[in-house]
Symmetry: C2
Subunit: 334 residues, 2 copies
């Protein structure tokens, strides 16, 4: 059984694997692992994954068989397990609990070599719709405080399988970064009676210097204090604390801006590996709705994060976001 | 001129390079760069670095010539520049300032192929003594709020030169991570009237399960909520908020435990790349002395940090610290 432990100084949570058979040089973190040459995410490999939780299939709905467009399955090597109680307890001065949660994989396409940026617009809508449906479902489980949706594309970004996929982890605690964002946004609201993200959207849309792409509902921009070169955020123009309240129209516009933004990054940065992470309000947190504003953070992997950053949470970014925005806007899309 | 910008939500600071001649795929971050086959840190290459700030030389003291044991020079490609005023200003809703600070390199040995773990005990003392002397000197400059000392060993840990060296960056703001540690330690002190790090040292020494190495003044341990496999902290047993108040005896004991701990990591993990970062109280912050406790955090680079960690500050560690401690204790040192 894995454990979740809390750092007593920073309040940061860590999932500790308790399988004791790792040799010191075995570091395939238990996310996903290749299964001997066969890609478990391809069509016709459905038996290589645990039974599906959700799938979009036109026509006859036969589960765990070919014919699907998007498929969500439990992670075969989950960091958190769905069964059991939390078992919150103290170990001397320390806090810990059982590693209870959900760990799922959204398989974004039946095809092996198509990445999200290359998919047809309606396929990207299906992928985001799968995020939304899984989030709504996982929020029903009262043990889970947060549903974290993130994507690693490319080995340098931590992906262990090439086939396009996204991970969903539901956690029994609110991750530290999310709590910090909420606290920061709350401080701004207390001072100004405005959402800090709405202020950003408004100032950036007006200035335009850091905007990469926009449509009626969303703006994609390089943040003023980007940690990484070409870091790009996508934010809704109209205030909303939760991704999962998106209407169908908004979902389509989000798919469109995400697809175009990833295409710009792909072309400008020669298929750069990246991570993206959906930042949304914690489950059952109605009190943050006035000042928290959901958004997607895309982080291309171009630089190495070293001692300076780890020790300080202070970053050195060699590319000004204004310059990155110019380059990304200049990309000619077909 | 580089800039320092603040994230308006999290309060995190970022150094943004404003040289506008980077192509999108040029990402040699401006730390150090190789100079055409010649190692600028080797003896007889003294002219390849800016003039030295400090050097330990037995006998005749002729600066910037061979004969030194440890040498401190300005970084040739500094992230922060020493000359100028801070120019704190607002850009609409955002905060920024000029990238003023110091960026120095401690060259740990005149020899190219010797890493810190391999050096004679008295050489490690000299390296740490150079840290201490530079920290005391940099704290005289009232523009600087923090002196960050960190080491990247190995390309995977972000080192761009192989020759053993440490970097020192003095910053005009307190890094976010340090502020968080101080706040966490303050909360613990407010509740318990005790230093949280002293509590950790005391609980860990008693239990012994996560201890790797100890001596009269220091303990090296795997923290309870280790983010990374084989993450190792070295803490002073007796409460002290500042590294730079070390006595000569303590400096020798710190050198000894650091050297032995790095040797254990080197042997157990086959010369693993690592970062270490000195965590000490900010300059001119007498008010934290009761509850902040300086320490050194060593982070071996065995796993890739991916979207999950970046999005959440929530980590998955595949090696329990208790297991790592057993393995490190078992290493036979000569």
């Amino acid at each position: 059984m894995h454990e979740i432990r809390k750092d007593p100084i920073l309040g940061r949570w860590v999932i500790i694997a308790s399988e004791r058979n790792n040799r010191p040089t075995d570091f395939t973190v238990n996310r996903e692992q290749p299964t001997g040459g066969i890609c478990p995410f391809c069509t016709d490999s459905e038996s290589h994954t645990p039974p599906e939780i959700l799938a979009f299939r036109p026509g006859e709905p036969r589960p765990n068989a070919p014919g699907w467009q998007v498929r969500v399955v439990p992670n075969k090597y989950p960091a958190l397990r769905i069964e059991g109680d939390l078992g919150r307890r103290a170990v001397g001065m320390y806090d810990m609990m059982n590693a209870i949660g959900a760990h799922e994989v959204v398989i974004e396409s039946p095809l092996h070599h198509v990445q999200l940026a290359d998919m047809a617009p309606e396929q990207v809508v299906r992928v985001l719709d799968a995020y939304l449906q899984r989030m709504l479902d996982l929020q029903q489980d009262r043990r889970f405080r947060y549903v974290l949706i993130f994507k690693n594309q490319g080995a340098e970004a931590g992906a262990t399988l090439e086939h396009a996929h996204t991970q969903i982890i539901a956690t029994p605690v609110v991750p530290k970064r999310v709590s910090e964002e909420i606290e920061g946004a709350r401080r701004h609201f207390d001072l100004h009676e405005r959402c800090v993200f709405c202020d950003i959207v408004s100032q950036e849309s007006e200035a335009g210097t850091r905007v990469v792409e926009e449509n009626a509902s969303f703006v994609a921009l390089e943040p003023f204090a980007s940690r990484f070169p070409y870091e790009t955020w996508i934010l809704p123009r109209i205030h909303a604390s939760r991704f999962e309240t998106l209407t169908r129209d908004e979902l389509e516009r989000l798919s469109s801006i995400l697809r175009l933004t990833l295409q710009r990054l792909d072309i400008a940065l020669e298929r750069v590996p990246f991570n993206y992470v959906l930042h949304t309000a914690p489950s059952n947190s109605a009190d943050v709705s006035e000042f928290y504003h959901w958004h997607l953070e895309i982080m291309p992997k171009l630089t190495k994060v070293a001692g300076f950053e780890w020790g300080s949470d202070f970053f050195i970014n060699p590319t000004p976001p204004e310059q990155a925005a110019i380059l990304l806007r200049r990309v000619r899309l077909e």
